[in-house]
Symmetry: C2
Subunit: 452 residues, 2 copies
């Protein structure tokens, strides 16, 4: 089933991501091999459909009955992972096509990336002939936690609102790993590889419609089909935020990108203009891609630009104010009524203003008291940026109570808190209070939620 | 003993940092109190001189004999920590002066920061009268690992080349904590507090002459004495790199800074011009302050601007090239001879160029082979930026072997490597291969070593 967007018929990727059965072609009994690791990850992910290891030399792999070939399985197979040497891949796809397989994640390399254009053409021919959608080749696979489908590494189990689409397997893996460790989770992860068939536009379209995806984060070096990207982009940008980091902004970066993906990378300024036209957001670094995506996975974009900073660390508050101002946000002073109320609520040694400096000895409860009182006196505040700049226990619990009482985004920085910080940092992100290790990163991430 | 710099007599801080005995005024038996934590840290740091807890209500604190007052100790005391309520601090300093104490680290607050200018004036009078140098008041203390002198929190034990001077206790603590966890270590840490006596210039001067300090990282909101700062700065900048992050660059940031420290923060552009004139380097964020200081703690600045990127992750290599180019470094292509040699040394699927892409399946040994061969063919390379973009074991051992064979800085990024990365990241930094979590941060840090 295809879906029309502008002039383009987009493949329906639902049968791939929601595959009801998976075969691993090249499943290995050797723990050093990728064919072992990927099967192992799929099992440990808890995939609920049948898994068929394909290995002509083994009866069993990782406790599952193995089959000499796809044809020997004798049951319907929705998706296959291809981990055999590249030269065998077209044959595998041909066989898969005959068996009605809907999609193939081709991990194998040895195609266009090393100049074997003919082999890649043969792969595409086989795919077209058999109606098999291909992700890759030469890619690090896919992960779709809603279907417990991890055909990739590392193993990322936690489900969240963040979809990662990346022309770099390493960058996808690194960001997915952060999302797992910080308890943010992902809605999906796709390493594009050579994009011989399914491309970034197909995937942006899929995650645009995916119910668990709140934000799409893309690392890309060049667009495969510009017109298709624009058509799909405009459609999706109206629905969900899409953040884009472009590799190859500079001249030498561009040449390296063309060498990396053997495709036209595209000039930075033309790319930027296209993003603006679509309504996608450009970011400048891997950290920024992750940080903004993390916030947007938890908080909806909303109008406004006024930010109130509340801090226990004077210096960190000032650093946050600098960045917020530089980003065009409004670090407005409190009103007379707001100041008066703060002086009433807070001990006299607190410095009332914006930043509101609770000073070093503050308990987490004081942040909550300040926010609840400000919510009454200062309805114009659009976002609270809370900086926990010491070991302050119970930050998470107090933030959650604020969040329930106040209908404004709460973004946090936790810094200088030693072991208490380590615990609270994870708890806060897990409780959907987006929390960052420096005031600068928290301020940049806050920017991405407010539309001005 | 004072030291003349230009028009200024600078206090000799050696007797404070190399104190042979310490008294903790306000030592507490209650683990919740700062007077307990600081004494505990000093003991756990392994301080080798006598420690005298001062507490009129206890015979013993943390296993050490306690004294009702400084006068009761009856032995020479070089330095005291003051953790009693602020109103008692001038009396303590007066007594200390009579006893020949050389320095006081006044942790206590309640002075100028909350408008109690008179109390702070009394503190200064007592200090001047008794010849006691004061750090603080209202500060998070000092740490000087060479003398195992930690009068501060958190406990940072590892000795390294990085001196931290900060007008924010939290930022100092956060950076010190990173240096401890990443096995970088510090040569010293000072939280300035209200700077009623000893100021940033005195401390920059001290660490400028300190043998274990390789780089001085400063967070500051405003300069206490501009002329003194310029005189000292010019002297020290000729000896060691000094990195400065200024809080209060923007107008609202500046107002917040003045409110934080109750002193003139200074306009950003004037400050920047002064830094340039001195030869200090301005940085833009807490991460950049730490990252550049980390590299300069391990690597001397040197002429040159040509960087060779070697990566296992194509995308991460491209991202690094973009940032290096944007920073004005030269990501030069390899010479014909260099290319030929690489094609000889490396498997055919590697992409020879700059970045040199070893691709995803590379072992750590291949980086070493590439670097050793390039060292022969490409003497013009000034710095190697190595990106380990997968779980690649033995990265540290191989980097160390390169470092021994090649007289060029080696800076690394480790990304997307899961559990292997966690282990190698720490090992590499500990082995003095400065290693960063993203290619952007590695590239920025690399910039700080090369003078162009």
């Amino acid at each position: 089933m295809e879906q029309r967007v502008g002039n383009y018929e987009l493949r329906d990727l639902d049968p791939i991501f929601n595959a009801r059965s998976v075969a691993i072609v090249g499943a290995s009994t050797n723990p050093e091999k990728l064919g072992y690791e990927i099967l192992n990850n799929l099992i440990n992910m808890g995939y609920e459909g049948p898994i068929y290891p394909i290995n002509p030399k083994a009866d069993e792999v990782l406790g599952l009955k193995a089959y000499p070939s796809l044809s020997d399985v004798g049951k319907p197979i929705d998706v296959i992972a291809v981990i055999v040497p590249g030269k065998f891949a077209p044959g595998v796809i041909e066989e898969a096509g005959r068996l009605g397989v809907k999609g193939a994640v081709v991990i194998s390399g040895g195609f266009r990336e090393i100049g074997n254009d003919d082999l890649e053409a043969a792969l595409v021919s086989a795919a077209r002939a058999g109606g098999v959608g291909i992700i890759g080749p030469n890619c690090q696979g896919i992960n779709y936690p809603a279907n417990k489908l991890c055909i990739s590494w590392p193993l990322i189990k936690r489900e969240g609102g963040l979809a990662l689409i990346s022309q770099s397997g390493t960058i996808a893996a690194a960001l997915g790993d952060r999302a797992e460790k910080e308890e943010i989770g992902i809605s999906g992860l796709v390493a594009l590889g050579n994009r011989c068939d399914i491309d970034e536009s197909d995937l942006i379209h899929f995650f645009g419609a995916d119910p668990s995806t709140e934000v799409i984060a893309v690392y890309i070096e060049g667009i495969k089909n510009g017109e298709k990207f624009m058509e799909v982009g405009k459609r999706v940008a109206g629905e969900k935020p899409v953040l884009v980091l472009k590799g190859g902004r500079t001249e030498r970066g561009r040449l390296a990108a063309e060498s990396h993906t053997k495709s036209i990378a595209g000039r930075g300024e033309i790319f930027d203009a296209a993003l603006r036209k679509i309504g996608f957001e450009k970011v400048e670094s891997i950290d920024e891609l992750y940080d903004c995506a993390k916030v947007l996975a938890m908080e909806k974009k909303r109008p406004g630009k006024r930010v109130q900073v509340i801090t226990s660390s004077g210096g960190s508050g000032i650093v946050a104010v600098d960045v917020l101002e530089e980003l065009g946000l409004d670090v407005a002073p409190l009103s007379e009524a707001g100041r008066a109320r703060m002086k009433e609520v807070l001990p006299s040694h607190c410095v009332v203003g914006n930043p509101l400096d609770l000073t070093g000895d503050t308990p987490a409860e004081r942040y909550k008291e300040a926010v609840l009182a400000l919510a009454e006196e200062e309805p114009g505040i659009d976002l609270y940026l809370l900086i926990f700049g010491d070991p302050i226990p119970r930050a998470m619990e107090n933030c959650l109570e604020m969040k329930e009482a106040v209908d404004k985004p709460i973004i946090a920085c936790y810094i200088g808190g030693g072991e208490v910080e380590e615990v609270e940092f994870k708890k806060m992100n897990g409780a959907r209070i987006p929390t960052f290790p420096t005031p600068e990163r928290a301020a940049r991430a806050a920017r991405s939620v407010l539309t001005g």
